[in-house]
Symmetry: C2
């Protein structure tokens, strides 16, 4: 291995890594940060093309780090070894484990999802073993013999919630997640962390609400939106067939646009405090009711 | 109002508040911390007898703080006004809002829940307007015409998860939550915060697993435990009637004790990464399937 060593806190790379916590420098550079053993391992599994890998042995927690570093290098990542203090500066976690990678951002459009709703083949998900190319990280279109199952979230504010929602969509077997009118950058370090790497596998599109609705309608996908104002319970709605579940933001719920244009508003019954269900909890409840019905 | 003013970071009360973040001093003093406007308002609503209220106007975010302070004083709390820097020291939140209360801990036993499973009246929940006494904070036994619905969690490690689980139990209308073999103190400040005050309303008992099982059996409550190893899907199990849903810990899942002794193990189907569902997510999925079935 040819490894550059970094000890100075003034090193330009150290300064740049700190900057990449913020969106503008991230977008300007077209990259994002992946911190932590588990997340980097998942990124490698999903063939995310890591450009750089920064590591600091003094922070390692286990014994598998050298193998992971070798794997990253074999996949083309440039390596940098940092001193303990230099790594402490670049880490954004409270308890760093000595591993931080930089990878290129990607962008996927609604048209990239066409194959999903058309069920027109392509590498399967989950469990696909087909290598993804750089431009198609996590974009493998499911080889669907079944109706598409999509999650649409609107203007989610907290990165932790967006990450948790991605995990839920993954667990429920959603074919894609569409983030409308984003407030949170999907490449925010806390989305990466909270998603536990699902960001690298679930096909994810960021788009405005109007074209998303138009696209869903063109594909014949029904839209079911959850709102406390609905009459119908989510368990009384038919959640089979081509389906998009639409969730609003933490603070404002669904926008007028989705309330007016969705095919069916539904509500989740609430027994306790008005705010006992946050958006991540409401999402997983609705997704798994759909899973139940769709297994029939 | 007679208000003691505190500006010194060396003030013994300031030092004690910092200590109360840790369990041992908390248990020795028999009190716990409630930080934040929303949480303190909920504590007052649920008649938690606040002993002390510390506030720092320089941190206030809105205009309703004086009314809340007056309400706390009227309810018997001793008031202390802190300077900005003194409050920064006692606050455990990253972004304090200038309000921190101290309240006595309470303890509830399995026997306190007898009324719940017996359905023998008492103030109703939710929406009870009957004042609770000091010793009965949140203990109002539901006026059940229906079968008891209980959540049992085993050895949950993360305070944030325990708080989220309490919210879920509240939203699902559970009659009680039983924490077995606790690793996390229910009065940990992060449980208080993550529960958004549900800690003050849902009847909560901490006990060892063996007596919990014996008590549930004596009351004729069926135990359904979730584990990835189960054959039966949670949606195929009958979740009506007297029911306890049992959830294991984050890291180890359910113990042998519950796996062996529960009436029925069930599993949640998983489409994605093995760890996409954490214990809080698995709990809310199972609880709301029970809500669906029990509404029949």
């Amino acid at each position: 291995m040819t490894v550059e060593k970094i000890s100075s806190l003034q090193n330009p790379r150290v300064k740049q890594l700190v900057k990449l916590r913020d969106r503008r420098p991230r977008d300007e550079a077209g990259v994002f940060l992946i911190e932590g053993f588990r997340e980097i391992r998942r990124a490698l599994e999903k063939r995310v093309p890591l450009r750089e890998l920064y590591y600091a042995p003094e922070w390692f927690l286990g014994e598998n780090e050298p193998a992971l570093i070798a794997q990253a290098e074999a996949a083309g990542a440039q390596l940098f070894e940092l001193t303990k203090s230099a790594f402490a500066k670049v880490a954004y976690r409270e308890r760093p484990d000595g591993l931080l990678a930089v990878a290129p951002q990607w962008k996927r459009t609604l048209q990239d999802l066409d194959k999903i709703v058309a069920g027109s083949g392509g590498p399967g998900r989950p469990g696909s073993t087909t290598p993804a190319t750089t431009s198609a990280v996590g974009a493998g279109a499911p080889d669907l013999q079944r109706a598409p199952f999509i999650l649409v979230v609107e203007a989610i504010e907290k990165p932790g919630n967006l990450g948790t929602i991605l995990r839920s969509a993954d667990a429920a077997g959603c074919d894609a997640v569409i983030v409308c009118d984003p407030v949170t950058d999907i490449f925010n370090p806390n989305v990466v962390r909270a998603s536990t790497g699902v960001l690298f596998s679930v096909p994810l599109v960021v788009a405005e609400s109007a074209p998303v609705l138009a696209w869903l309608r063109a594909q014949g996908v029904r839209t079911i939106a959850t709102t406390p104002a609905a009459e119908k319970l989510y368990t009384d709605a038919d959640l089979r067939g081509p389906l998009a579940i639409v969730m609003g933001s933490e603070q404002y719920g669904l926008s007028e646009f989705w309330l007016k244009n969705c095919d069916l508003p539904v509500r989740i019954p609430m027994a306790g405090q008005a705010d006992s269900l946050n958006v991540a909890m409401a999402t997983i409840i609705t997704l798994f009711e759909a899973v139940r019905q769709r297994a029939w």
